[in-house]
Symmetry: none
Subunit: 216 residues, 4 copies
DNA sequence: AATGAATGAGAATTCATTCAT
DNA sequence: AATGAATGAATTCTCATTCAT
């Protein structure tokens, strides 16, 4: 009787092998980003997105089983980029540097990530919670914080340590969002402020000195 | 929000002079809060809200010209409560106390405000930015920060000062949101963390010492 | 994200207590019958039905959660009418009469049922199999045949007896459909033919004589 | 069927002279049969059919102007097979044999036809009546009945005779459908039942005895 | 001739808002 | 003033059919 899609919204309906198809997926995702940014995820309509992408709804649905899938693929892409950033950032000797050095290493790529992904940050900031992919990005950032802290401050109770990681991440995330939204604050100013704040906050818990690296 | 009326959604359609009317407005706002919390602002339907409030849609529309108006009135109420909190908090000698004393005075009522308004915080956190009333709350909190800072650190360029106020507010706001969402962090833990962070951040700009109050 | 109805299409969405509502349900069902008859169940659209009923789609959906529900309610009504007919028809002494007498008792109300329900017969004849309600009507007619036969011909193996009931029912049903579809055959002619056919067919299995009723 | 083209769906768009083309038409028809059987004619999509046939929609439309045409060609094929069966069955001396002999001659090939065409029977049983080709099959079967009867019972008014032919055909058709659908009835059991029923029904109108063949 | 991506009209369903009662 | 049924525009998604490659 023409029921609407019963699929469990599995990402892409059909992995496009052809270049044409890949390009179209990209164009749709780009269009969606623009539309989401303008009117929000909920208010965006599939027809709007298709038109913006220069196609028809039909085409859109050839690649995405439903609107939610567009959001999820977009979120998954965002998560991938976040992962790539971590990989680059997490050097093995990180836990043994001074806090100032750690921040010198960590903050710039973090800023770059937030700069490059400002659209997605804005889109997902107001995103319906059901976008798990986005929550995972946060969880991952928190986890790597946690790992670092576990080495630097092994005496901390796990629960406390986790809270610190959460708070730390929340501070970074929320301040990095500032330039995205109206405020006329620059990313570099935020970077400076973050340095001050985190030196104090993290230093409070794990000290600011270098650690002697494990012998051997 | 898919409005169909052309009205500019002017808050209350008719100021209810009767007690009966006032009570109904309250019941509708309470119901709306509950429904918004459960399903989000966009997904909430006016019929749901009316039923929860124990009335009919028709009645609801007697007091609110459209769904958006409910959101705006709710936001306005939230703003009022924020203002009340400021009024209480801003003692005339505040600028001249030590930073630690200032935080001792400011943080507890701030926490209380966030505790008491957690529902609204949660509702508006994911709210489409177009709810101006909400932005005003933020602007007001930022403005009072700014005023304080203007006295304590008169040498700061206005723009810098404003940025500090913005950052300061964003830190408070985002950390105070943590207990509201999933995280098992308590308000008191957050209060401690805030103290550390703000001592460092604000202290960095305006010093932590007492100021000699203006003579005369 | 605005998914379409997830309800399991439970008959009526809301049992209309008011007369107005009841009448509207009737008008919708009448309209649906007419439309189904003209274009078939699958091709019928809810808007068509609503218009025919003199309402709007919205109203239609106030009573029926989806198109399928209309079909099911219609089928349920049909089943009820069939049950009413059985109740009337099945006299306790039926098994002990001669076959000719049995047919005299059974065939006229059966004909009346098929005459009065010719529209539904036509609609459901081509109905998608998922309309369980309709299958139940058939099963019930078969079951009462079976019960009769169990008394009259207790020696028959159950499987054989059931087949006879099925065949018997199928003959009745398919012949009774004839006047409904194009053919210029009257119900009375069919009744005569049925008598001949069933006398032979059933008589072949259970004899045509009276049975001595159970003593006591 | 939701046609969008204005063509009057003339069977085959292009008579395939090449062997390749003929084979493809066959493969498409086979695929369509399978798909129709599984999901029904209405729910079947042209892409499904094409994929099952190992081609593309484009190719399918090279041979069939639209979906309906597939149904019609399939029905036409079915009609042809029915005709072939008649041709084989209708021996010149048929009208002069005893009814039992006639049934002995007629019923087995009839059964074979229904067995071999069970798929089509199932497909077209629920088919919208607008497939004229299918009605023609029925009309043809009725007509040959009629012819036989005209010889055996020349005294019967034409209208009566025609009704008998219709009823006779309907009985055969509907009983022969039983094994196709859920029921666990075998074709041989049905054949037995048909013999009983038709002996009685036809015998009732045209006697069961042999006729003396026309001299000369 | 074959392919399958592209198109878009059309169907089901929802929900803000109105208005008769 | 209160009610809640009625309205229909708007949205998501499908699928017959076309047409560029």
């Amino acid at each position: 009787m023409g029921l609407k899609s019963e699929e469990t919204s599995q990402e892409l309906r059909r992995t496009p092998r052809q270049d044409r198809g890949k390009q179209k997926v990209e164009r749709i995702l780009d269009a969606a980003r623009a539309v989401f940014l303008e009117v929000g995820i909920e208010a965006a309509t599939t027809i709007q997105i298709a038109e913006r992408a220069g196609t028809s709804v039909g085409s859109l649905y050839q690649f995405f089983p439903n609107k939610e899938a567009i959001v999820r693929v977009m979120a998954a892409r965002h998560a991938e980029r976040a992962n790539a950033m971590f990989a680059e950032m997490l050097q093995p000797d990180l836990p043994f540097l001074s806090l100032a050095e750690v921040l010198d290493i960590i903050l710039p790529p973090l800023r770059d990530f937030y700069v490059e992904n400002r659209d997605f940050i804005a889109i997902f900031a107001a995103a319906p919670a059901f976008v798990e992919e986005i929550q995972k990005v946060d969880e991952q950032l928190i986890a790597s914080n946690d790992a670092l802290l576990a080495i630097r401050a092994p005496h901390l109770p796990e629960k406390t340590r986790h809270r610190i990681s959460v708070v730390n991440h929340k501070i970074i995330k929320s301040l990095m969002e500032l330039p995205t939204f109206g405020t006329d604050v620059t990313y570099d100013e935020i970077l400076e402020d973050l340095r001050v704040v985190l030196m104090a906050y993290i230093g409070n818990w794990m000290g600011t000195e270098r650690l002697s690296p494990p012998s051997g």
